[in-house]
Subunit: 271 residues, 2 copies
């Protein structure tokens, strides 16, 4: 999917919502017998009209071994078949030496055929560039994450006072472009999005941390939105596990609709 | 497996070799029809007497989707059944917010039941601590990797001149201990192992980069060995794909034996 197509979807749905498909067995209704794919199908059908993206988190599939991976593959196939305009991000935070990253790129962009993959930058250029060059596919590099541990290394300043996450933005943006690279920037440190926008004005930012983690949607829009929106805001637990009973899909639809309506009003200035 | 047990294996086999199980379909003999598990079985049987550890790299399994994960699971089960004293490291470079890392920990330490997992430090403390506290299991944190891209961020110095990889060592060693944490330190920058040893004298170091990537075993031992060896040196391509023909397992055995013999002489001072 191109940047223009993504923006078209945002305009069409008046939403920049990404629903995180992180199904936690302990929070799924008992009637589903732990069937991840059935759970996802219900969530997808209930929220697709409010979302421009789905983001399955690999950890929640890998925990079931090979059968979990099958559930992941079935989920991707279901979205492709029924909602072909929706952007699919595999949240896997991969990254390794070139030879191995090449293999991960094939896993996610060929075998699993998702649109985007989250990647950790610690190993540098040759761990990231193998993911580039797939037509219509995107690398989403971790810059500033939403968790408390982001303070440990991402905020370490170099001799010039530049924090590591800024160095990551400055270097990695030279390896790709705003047409094949995005950044993870957490909502829990929303005011920093203004600084980030000075370095990457055009790039899409994938923003976790709204909802269960406490970030504010209004602040994210205030500091992070650009003329093509430039934001994909994710909510996982706050939508998919808002109810742990058999009405989980209806409640998820309500929660997704609530977010879409807030987003619609935040989009007014640019649409 | 405890640190003492690992050292016992090193003494018994006079080896600190880890064989990387990264089977590349394009380098496997045609007669195997791309069967990863059959390939691994032959490699494991041929090299187990020279190795104290096997390190399957998840990328090479994920590329085949769910069936690749089955091959990975079968490989782990095979090693457990036939070579129960061998240490198994899943090379997956995971790491995410606490809630997700907890799920990855369950994936690798419960579902897949390996002994150790490689983890990327970029997301900080709450991305790493969920992997600790599993009895006999190990977290292997990326510190200084063997690839060219390690120069991009790992060597960035803070205001006091401390490079990031040193900050990673200094902080993370407070979260675990030498009994549940190891570090990835690449052989391609072996002289830096002397500095690293000053910060983590007791910890085991998992050292990639000998062989195909050009690192020297002698230098790794010179700068990195401690009184309990403290080194697990990995070779993947240099052993498992040394021959691409039907004699791949015999050639792998020869290559592994060559390394074991060099290691035996390097261990003389401490055994």
């Amino acid at each position: 999917m191109t940047r223009e197509e993504l923006f078209s979807q945002i305009k069409l749905k008046r939403s920049f919502l990404c629903v995180g498909l992180d199904p936690d067995l302990e929070k799924m209704p008992a009637s589903l017998n732990g069937n991840l794919f059935e759970f996802n199908k219900a969530i997808i059908d209930a929220t697709a009209q409010y979302a421009i993206a789905f983001k399955p988190n690999m950890a929640f599939y890998e925990v079931q071994g090979a059968s979990g991976i099958t559930a992941f593959e079935d989920t991707v196939a279901y979205i492709r078949a029924h909602y072909p305009d929706i952007f699919i991000i595999a949240d896997a935070k991969r990254g390794d030496i070139g030879n191995t990253s090449k293999m991960y790129a094939r896993s996610f962009f060929e075998t699993m055929d998702v649109d985007a993959l989250t990647v950790a930058p610690y190993m540098g250029e040759d761990s990231i560039t193998p993911f580039l060059g797939y037509k219509g596919k995107w690398v989403v590099v971790l810059a500033l994450t939403s968790n408390k541990g982001s303070l440990d290394f991402q905020h370490v300043e170099d001799a010039h006072g530049t924090p590591l996450y800024m160095t990551v933005l400055q270097k990695t943006k030279q390896w790709g472009s705003a047409d094949d690279m995005m950044y993870v920037c957490g909502a829990t440190q929303a005011a920093l999005l203004a600084d980030i926008r000075r370095v990457v004005p055009q790039h899409f930012l994938l923003v976790p941390g709204v909802g269960a983690q406490g970030g504010s949607l209004e602040e994210v829009a205030k500091y992070g939105m650009n003329s093509q929106c430039g934001l994909i805001v994710n909510s996982s637990r706050g939508i998919i596990h808002a109810s742990r009973d058999d009405d989980f899909a209806q409640v998820a639809a309500l929660k997704a609709r609530e977010m879409q309506q807030k987003m619609q009003s935040l989009l007014q200035d640019i649409l």
